[in-house]
Symmetry: D2
Subunit: 272 residues, 4 copies
């Protein structure tokens, strides 16, 4: 297998030892309902099961375990994109969920080398997932009007070691985006219909506009504004993720689930 | 923005002109219910709306349009990952859907630089999506027992210009995988429980095992076999994708939907 | 067990022999994917499997079978409420589905002795289900502006033998309902917000208003109008029914499903 | 409108005054997220909002309000079938939900005059809903092995005033049912496959067997046993109920929902 070069690519290979200060996911050994925590390699970490010295993880491979002074055991993993979003990033906003982010990547064709513009940065969840997906040859431009959120997003992205893939801008997008020819523009704002023209201007011809809104009224309002723009191939969807209890003899869905996060709207820019 | 190097990264940037022979998606202008076709730049292409000469698209940007001899107009786009899976690849098997593939990428942390092993190749839908996600610094090893399917998968992956990212093997995985230290192993086979040990052997410590099966019986049978292996953080899910009619004044879900494609099982390898 | 009196109660007991002219459901013997037809006892009936003489069913019990001149066999059943709605009634409109109707009955407390007002009659699907549920001690008042639909609804209700439980009115409900003190009022009209006051006037204090609309815009518009009225205990829901392939060794949901029929809005009248 | 006779029919008419000792639902006036309590007419009742003297409700109509000594107001309603199941009955078991019960009634054709056999009684939720649906001309036979549950179920059914419509039996159904010619048999037991023969024996020809089980394994096990029996028209379903936040300007599904209660299996008895 190939050698991995550069800090960016490093992150998506699990096959290298833990470094000091690296953020990790710790998972308790109970397979039925795993509890999990976040921590940093090299620090001390306490739960009801005792104190864990994470110094011992330095140089160990992901998947290694660490025991508390009471003999309880946790397993340490390098976070995946879903871990970052669900467990590791500090949140002060509604976050984008892995189910939506995964579909956005595949539907909008975002991958290594892609250039993505988003607004707003929020807690940086989508920023981070885009940054992980585009690699060192791609780039993310993340707009946010509120400085404190932009800082939070930057901090979260930096934890994952991909800050160099993102340009954060504290700026009102009512003035438009500074970039052009983006492969995808992602709008996660309260009133996206005000910014559709700016988004289309920033998109490359053939690029994909992605809009995330939680309410049906916002979907309608956005759909009303779209026909004025050079967009085609409209799609409005929602995704539902249902977990099952992993009991082979009593297999059944979990009793409760997340019933709604957001609606997604997709359209492609044409050059007519 | 950065310059794009190499054939692999090329594919995820929409911002470059069409080349002769490139596969494209053609979309009719009706925004409510877009019809779409696949074709190659430079060829002649006919629908009920007339003959379209795609020679004129050479050197044009994605999002450009082409008119038939009857004056009808189609828009040409560079395919996204979802386009490849849903519209472009030739299929002879049940394919993996964008909703599942997107979640797999995010949940298993597959991105630029990742090394993924999969079995079977099938029509190459998942192969292609993994190849698009891992970039030129990553790699996909795709096992398939039936030579005709392996060839179909190779052909589909080649169409997308990422054949150099995939090693195809015509081989029964009952003999095990040749590779070690994979970031993720994806099993899309009828009886995955027979191959779990081999999959775990091929995984890097900390890597993610992903299993796709259509029936509840297969989920139970797989779950029965998992506890014998060094795996943790078990998750069993299904994803539902619901489309909405994009009519702002009469917004409602589509009348019918795909109700089931598959269940996904995830687990992580630990090194105890 | 008790003796059954009167034509109304007759219908919900399957335990009595078929009568001439009675409408029945015929089901082919293949258990995996049953085909079904409707017919009348005493008539001749043809399928690709031959001619069936349904004269022989007179005096037979439901569940009996009949053979064609080619030796193929069908089973004859007395229709349930779901059969009437899904298979037996002639439709010229979008019909209300068993999943919604069942929830309406239970949520609004409609049962033997209830008095229900509905508009419009449509094809009579909801009319019939209400009539079957309220018994000979209850009553349904069904309003419809278009005479041809009212006639269709009457014909469908008569087929089920419960015409005596329904009063049909060809009338624009913009003028209000003639009745008062109804246990439930069901509005299945395009713009229910115009008729809410009339509906509330017709309801008994403590009665339940039920509104069925297909689009989110109609839900919003209705919700905007409700606060002006003496209503409480608002509920907005949708129901999804997912079928499974009944194969014990390959149990899984059907590939496709009805993704949307309608939203239901419930509220109760208070007397303040 | 017709006069209502007998205690049974009384219950489904909301249009009559409250009687002393009658069980009621009390609903607070906030329309967005109604809180609710159960109580008996004539008693004293306390919440954080003060003491409510429910003596004043005697002779009042459902929908009337009552004020606490602190001036807070609650509205009093006669319970619907759904209220009984969700709010009023004392539970010591997993209960059957309105969404499933409604579909069972409509799918199995249970209505006024129907004779239904069920096992087990559990907390009496399904018993009560069947009793409410079959009216005074129908009857429910409810089997339960554990005397304490049978008593609980009897108490819950008595509260709703329909005890005369139900015969409770404390009995192991491994010995079979005492009745014959039932319109429907409902099995809500852990291992229904052991009792299918008895259920079919108790069913009238043409009657409907209904089985409720929470796990996929139980569905498979039941499906394995069915082909040996004179049953046809097999259906396996699950129902999902999704609530929406009733805000007209921000309409969206609730954040979380009940993701799973049970699978339902239906089949009809034929006489071959």
């Amino acid at each position: 297998m190939r050698r991995v070069r550069g800090i960016g690519e490093v992150r998506v290979r699990v096959n290298k030892p833990f470094e000091p200060g690296e953020w990790i996911v710790l998972i308790a050994a109970n397979p039925q309902r795993p509890r999990r925590w976040i921590a940093r390699v090299g620090e001390k970490f306490s739960t009801a099961d005792g104190v864990f010295d994470l110094q011992g993880l330095i140089g160990q491979m992901p998947g290694s375990s660490v025991a508390s002074h009471l003999g309880q055991r946790l397993f340490a993993f390098r976070p995946t994109a879903a871990d970052w979003v669900m467990h590791l990033i500090k949140r002060q906003t509604q976050i984008t969920y892995p189910k939506e982010m995964g579909y956005i990547l595949v539907r909008a064709g975002i991958g290594p080398g892609s250039v993505v513009i988003e607004s707003g940065s929020g807690s940086g969840a989508s920023t981070l997932l885009f940054a992980l997906a585009v690699g060192d040859n791609g780039h993310v431009f993340s707009y946010e009007q509120r400085p404190e959120f932009s800082q939070l997003a930057q901090q979260n992205v930096a934890r994952a070691g991909v800050a160099h893939r993102v340009t954060f801008k504290v700026k009102d997008i009512a003035e438009g985006f500074d970039e052009r020819d983006a492969d995808a523009v992602f709008l996660d704002v309260r009133e996206p219909w005000h910014y559709l023209e700016h988004a289309v201007t920033a998109l490359a011809s053939g690029g994909t506009l992605v809009i995330l809104v939680p309410t049906t009224n916002q979907v309608s309002e956005t759909l009303r504004a779209l026909p004025a723009l050079p967009l085609i191939d409209l799609e409005v969807v929602e995704l539902l993720l249902r977990h099952y209890k992993p009991n082979p003899e009593r297999l059944r869905p979990e009793d409760r689930m997340v019933a709604h996060t957001a609606f997604l709207i997709f359209a492609r820019k044409h050059s007519l």
